[in-house]
Symmetry: C2
Subunit: 199 residues, 2 copies
Amino acid sequence: MAGRPRASSQRMLEEAASELFLESGYAKTTIEQITQRAGVSRNTFFNYFTAKSDLLWVELDASLQALTDALAERATSDDPLGAVQEALLVTAAGFTAERAPLVLTQYEVMGIDAELKAAGLARALAHADLIERYLVARLWAANPLAADRPLQARAIALAVLGAAAAAVGRWAADGPSRAPLVSYVERVVHPVLRGFSTG
Amino acid sequence: MAGRPRASSQRMLEEAASELFLESGYAKTTIEQITQRAGVSRNTFFNYFTAKSDLLWVELDASLQALTDALAERATSDDPLGAVQEALLVTAAGFTAERAPLVLTQYEVMGIDAELKAAGLARALAHADLIERYLVARLWAANPLAADRPLQARAIALAVLGAAAAAVGRWAADGPSRAPLVSYVERVVHPVLRGFSTG
DNA sequence: GGGAATAAATAGATCGAGTCCAACAATTAG
DNA sequence: CTAATTGTTGGACTCGATCTATTTATTCCC
């Protein structure tokens, strides 16, 4: 395969960025500085990331694939709500102490305000979309005549997303000696799904 | 009171913007064009709005006050979860056909992509913060010793927010002859709160 | 070895949202 | 009338993001 070898990688840029964010804050760190530290030109940044903010949510974005896989493994489950919970827990297990997003653990040092943190929730809508699609396929294949099932699938997906977001936030705030994320997520996702499964 | 009278208003700018968004799309409409149509200078825009995106969420932002008031009226409720649902329904009642955010009803015409729509969820975190604070006050005054009650309050608040967002999205998509938003919100918020109230 | 194909990096330019400050303008109060 | 107050504007600037043309670094094939 011909072509010029890459001079950098997402990982390199991410590491350069994390150092700089911790040194000077997110807002004060320019893309020029990040790429300089990584040894490439400013324009090259956009060959690796769509936007500066992508740097804050690398682990979250990566977990989308984990959730996709976990849901696919449960494609034929006869307990869709239970399967959603399991898939979320499997995905949550991928977040270890070393893979806790800096944006959630070091937000004060990095000068991350509430609006920037909130953008994580918007970004995680992709996860909710996966869950919704899974539910639409599993629930309404069983009973396609129920008129509001698309709304219900979406509501479950978004409610679960919200609960999981609460869990992640608490987990990150609890410090390095925190329990595994899985236990937080389970504690909050279970009541949500319970509510939707009775009736 | 001395001082120079204002030459414009949020309302005027919002109307100018809505026209332009519908004509040319959100991304293609510049702040210069909006302020020109409203008859003021570009810099003046920022005396009325913090950012261009504020224009998309005027009704949502306004509903924050409605929710604040509705929760305050239920400050002494002995059924906090029920009170949260009622407050949400009162707030939802403020969204009529004429007050449906264009960003949700005309997103195709306006070229609003998924990311821009997702930002509404991030913005609505302010609503979830209100609910969380209300729950912390109501639930943990009654039983301050439960260790994970702050997490539970946050999880409820965010789960309810997610469910409500699903309702709003469905409601907007259903077209001008849609049923009142209240019925959508009730249908999805009730199971969430039910799940957290049993146990 | 050399040329062609391929993929990546870079320089340079531009746009527009957003920030900021100084000067100007429109009102009221004394 | 002057001073105080509040709002508008012009001008300059930053920086993320976009885009294009050129250059660069590799492989492949003759």
